[in-house]
């Protein structure tokens, strides 16, 4: 088994690494230095940091992503916890995964119907006497739908972390006189924190870039980094500025990864 | 004595400035059961991997039937291994596992089936052909691993701590089976273990190793009765080891008392170590005592009592006795001259054998009379 003889195996994969991983990243960084007129390096970055519009947009995008991640976490942890105690949990887990198989656009599309003036949500509001309201094309509806879409991606890593937890720790804690709540707070939660971090990773970064939701549900009121990139690339054709925002998004991604990276990650759910 | 089948000559293995094997010389003859015995990290598995072809030695020769095989890869050696934890292929059935080597040789199907059946019968797993590996107990997996290796009809079978994963009862059963299998097949077994009991029970010859050296080789009885040094005495069986001094041939001073012993050829007044096995010590009344001691505590071991005692000079002793003693009681101990074995400090195996040769067979006869 000499390595030299079999280096050919590596060729297709190596080619992929160079062409589709290294080259695109290099190109987007390179492109980010040029504005529409192909001049002045760093011009785009100057525009980005001097214009209040871009900075405000970035701050907004991060704020929304934080809210979405927070809501997703608050909803998902108890769900994963209760789910993990069920008898047929594999089956229920499958039911959690199943919606992720439905195309994200179909789910967004469903909410166009649900949130419309005569839709189900407004019928419900009318029924309890506080409606109807304009629901579609609001910030709240954007956050709601984004949270809805992300929930399974948060539940899964937390569930896996709970599954990896040796029940002996819980028994030991109870044996030492801890109450259920103390056991949860001092043993279960700290030990499943890696799962939460994996979930945050899986939710936060995509939430910065969900441009189709801002278009379909947010009605262009919410502009995320992703929306801005899409607009610069496909509408105004200002690839330079689009790339600049892309680089900002990549930097944001790296920061989040650094903050949430554990050196021994449990099986997070890859997207 | 036949033509040796495997020989290691001046084998040295270094990793960086770490020397794993320091000048190993050993010879394996056909049809014998050999054991490499030593604590973990002593280099015994490295020797096994050297013979099986998974390890390239730094220097020295590995001979098979008199031919140097240092550069022959593992898949071309007529040697097979039973791996620690078995290394069975989990995606294959029992029969597929056993047939693996023969299938690679593209033997006819009927021949393979017949041989697999025959081999499984040999390891008492007839009828297990279609089972999944995961459906087998530890002992059964062990047998499949053996079957997978012996179906290749190797001249030498290497066994890397194959019994370590089994529970105590099964391990004892397997000792009988392995010994029996080796005798029926008539091929050479080289067995690696850190369990002295296994080694003593099964082997024709044992190589005791420590720190990359073979300290002593010989039959189980030789090694047990005449350990060459403190390490071997301590590692094999239980022992009481005390400092002493040779005063004349067959006379040694221990604990300030002079005793008759069965060793000679050692210069007068040389400091030595003396071994007394716990089972060779007999409890006796104080009048007949060679040594006097106080009982500290005792444990009932089923077929004997293991008694811990302290002598008048403060040395701790271990005594195996069929009869119980009483804690705190002062009792006498006696033993026969031939039970007292003298070891010289830093004596090498060759020197030891040479010294034994000078008086054994003549004086020994007198002293061994009970």
């Amino acid at each position: 088994m000499t390595n030299r003889k079999n280096w050919g195996y590596f060729l297709p994969y190596g080619l992929w690494l160079v062409l589709f991983v290294i080259a695109p990243v290099a190109l987007i960084v390179y492109q980010s230095f040029f504005n529409l007129d192909h001049q002045l390096p760093l011009n785009n970055y100057a525009t980005y940091f001097q214009s209040g519009v871009y900075l405000k947009m970035t701050a907004n995008s991060i704020w929304y992503a934080l809210l979405i991640t927070l809501f997703t976490g608050i909803i998902s942890y108890p769900t994963a916890y209760v789910l993990h105690q069920l008898k047929h949990r594999q089956f229920w887990l499958l039911l959690v995964i199943l919606p992720t198989w439905i195309n994200i656009l179909l789910k967004a599309y469903a909410f166009i119907g649900i949130f419309s003036q005569a839709g189900m949500a407004n019928n419900f509001l009318r029924f309890i006497g506080i409606g109807p309201h304009q629901l579609l094309f609001t910030n709240a509806s954007f956050i709601f739908v984004a949270t809805y879409i992300q929930i399974p991606f948060m539940i899964l890593p937390i569930y896996n972390a709970l599954d990896d937890l040796n029940p002996a720790y819980v028994n030991a804690s109870l044996d030492l006189g801890a109450t259920r709540w103390q056991t949860f707070r001092r043993v279960i939660f700290p030990l499943t924190l890696p799962g939460v971090k994996a979930g945050v990773q899986a939710v936060f970064i995509p939430s910065l870039s969900l441009f189709m939701l801002t278009r379909l549900i947010g009605g262009n009121k919410v502009i995320t980094l992703g929306t801005a990139i899409e607009e610069h690339f496909l509408t105004t054709m200002n690839w330079g500025m689009g790339s600049t925002i892309g680089v900002i998004l990549i930097l944001a991604m790296i920061i989040v990864m650094q903050l949430t990276n554990d050196h021994d990650q449990p099986g997070g759910f890859p997207r | 004595m036949g033509q040796p089948i495997i020989e290691l000559r001046h084998v040295i293995q270094r990793y960086g400035d770490h020397t794993i094997l320091k000048n190993i010389n050993l010879t394996l003859e056909p049809g014998k059961f050999y054991t490499l015995l030593g604590p973990s990290g002593c280099g015994k598995t490295t020797i096994l991997r050297t013979i099986s072809g998974f390890n390239q030695v730094t220097s020295g020769d590995v001979l098979f039937d008199g031919h140097r095989i240092n550069d022959v890869p593992a898949n071309h050696r007529n040697v097979n291994t039973v791996f620690q934890d078995y290394a069975l292929f989990p995606h294959l059935t029992v029969a597929e596992n056993v047939a693996f080597g023969l299938t690679l040789q593209k033997r006819p199907k009927s021949e393979i089936t017949q041989k697999v059946d025959q081999t499984l019968k040999l390891v008492r797993l007839a009828g297990y052909q279609d089972r999944a590996i995961s459906a087998l107990s530890g002992g059964q997996q062990q047998r499949v691993a053996i079957a997978r290796a012996i179906i290749m009809q190797p001249r030498v079978l290497l066994l890397d701590e194959p019994l370590s994963a089994l529970d105590a009862k099964l391990r004892r059963e397997m000792q009988y089976e392995l010994r029996d299998l080796q005798q029926r097949l008539g091929i050479t077994f080289l067995f690696v273990t850190h369990d002295q009991e296994e080694a003593l029970a099964m082997s024709d010859e044992i190589f005791v190793m420590n720190n990359g050296e073979v300290l002593q080789s010989g039959t189980p009885v030789d090694i047990y009765d005449e350990p060459i040094n403190h390490f071997v005495a301590d590692f094999i069986g239980e022992s009481n080891i005390l400092p002493g001094k040779m005063v004349a041939d067959f006379q040694v001073v221990v604990n300030g008392q002079q005793f008759e012993c069965s060793d000679a050829g050692i210069p007068t007044d040389e400091p030595v170590e003396v071994v007394l096995r716990p089972e060779d010590l007999t409890l006796t009344d104080l009048a007949h005592a060679k040594l006097t001691m106080t009982i500290d505590t005792q444990l009932f071991r089923g077929d004997y009592y293991e008694i811990a005692a302290t002598d008048t000079r403060g040395h701790s002793w271990l005594i195996h006795s069929v009869n119980p003693a009483e804690d705190g009681e002062t009792i006498g101990i006696s033993f026969r001259p031939q039970d007292l074995h003298v070891m010289r400090l830093h004596e090498k195996e060759a020197e030891f054998d040479a010294r034994l040769g000078t008086y054994e067979g003549t004086e020994d006869a007198d002293h061994d009379q009970p």
Partner: protein, 266 residues
């Protein structure tokens, strides 16, 4: 406490499934909007299956998914084998980190950077660029599914095979590939779903003329409610169910076969 937690779980499941059920219910509604159910009809399904453009798009989507998943599985498996064999820790870590870049990057970044890449190379946008992009973002998931199986493979098992006379080639075909087959299978399956699920990357690199289902749904949904999309979602949901069922059936069968053998112990 127990009742409360059950109620909570039921609520979550309702929220998870209401939109999907809502979509499908209205696909059978005789009206034109997703409000006020107008009575049962197959009309929208009939429209869907009579729409040649839609059928062509479905065919495109499936073709891209299958082809890209196959190629990605092949390249990814080779990649996993090479990563696994790298003895230097540093090299392996670098390779793994590079591998994971596309896993963690937001879709928009992947789409935008691929768009720049294809344009720089002057590659026309269309089927080819979409296929290449899908292969590219599926490879890392295949690697990640195969590597754990490779790591589970104990060196002693390979040594045993060599000890019994296996050559390097036989080692690969008789021991390694069969052993990691479940990982390869899962990798293929994941790659397939990634392809079917993708919208953003395809949206960036698709150009004019070529479209996949996601892109088509997006452009139609931007124009408002169209119950043909509901019908489409009904079909896709059924397809997903079949895929999941098929996947679990295959896994179950694998287990059953194992269990049957185990049952033979009695």
């Amino acid at each position: 406490m127990k009742k409360l937690s059950r109620a909570y779980l039921i609520l979550i499941f309702i929220i998870l499934y209401v939109p999907i059920i809502y979509l499908i219910v209205y696909s059978f509604s005789a009206g034109d909007t997703m409000t006020n159910y107008h009575g049962f009809t197959w009309k929208h399904y009939a429209d869907l299956f009579a729409d040649p453009r839609m059928l062509a798009i479905v065919a495109n989507t499936l073709l891209v998914a299958l082809l890209s998943a196959l190629i990605a599985t092949l390249i990814g498996t080779l990649g996993a084998l090479s990563i696994h064999r790298t003895s230097k820790r540093v090299t392996r870590d670098v390779l793994l980190n590079l591998n994971n870049i596309l896993m963690v990057s937001p879709d928009v970044i992947i789409g935008a950077s691929f768009l720049i890449f294809f344009t720089t190379l002057k590659l026309p946008l269309g089927f080819g660029s979409v296929l290449l992009s899908h292969i590219a973002f599926e490879i890392p998931i295949v690697v990640l599914m195969v590597l754990p199986r490779l790591r589970e493979m104990r060196p002693a098992m390979l040594a045993a095979a060599q000890d019994l006379g296996a050559t390097t080639k036989e080692l690969l075909s008789r021991v390694i590939i069969p052993f990691i087959a479940p990982g390869i299978f899962t990798g293929f399956f994941m790659a397939l779903t990634y392809s079917l699920d993708d919208f953003a990357v395809t949206f960036f690199v698709t150009g004019n003329g070529f479209s996949t289902l996601s892109v088509e749904i997006y452009s139609r949904a931007r124009q408002g409610i169209d119950l043909e999309i509901n019908a489409l979602s009904g079909v896709m949901f059924l397809f997903s169910l079949l895929l999941v069922a098929g996947y679990y059936w295959l896994q179950q069968r694998h287990h059953r076969r194992k269990n049957k053998r185990q049952g033979a112990t009695l």
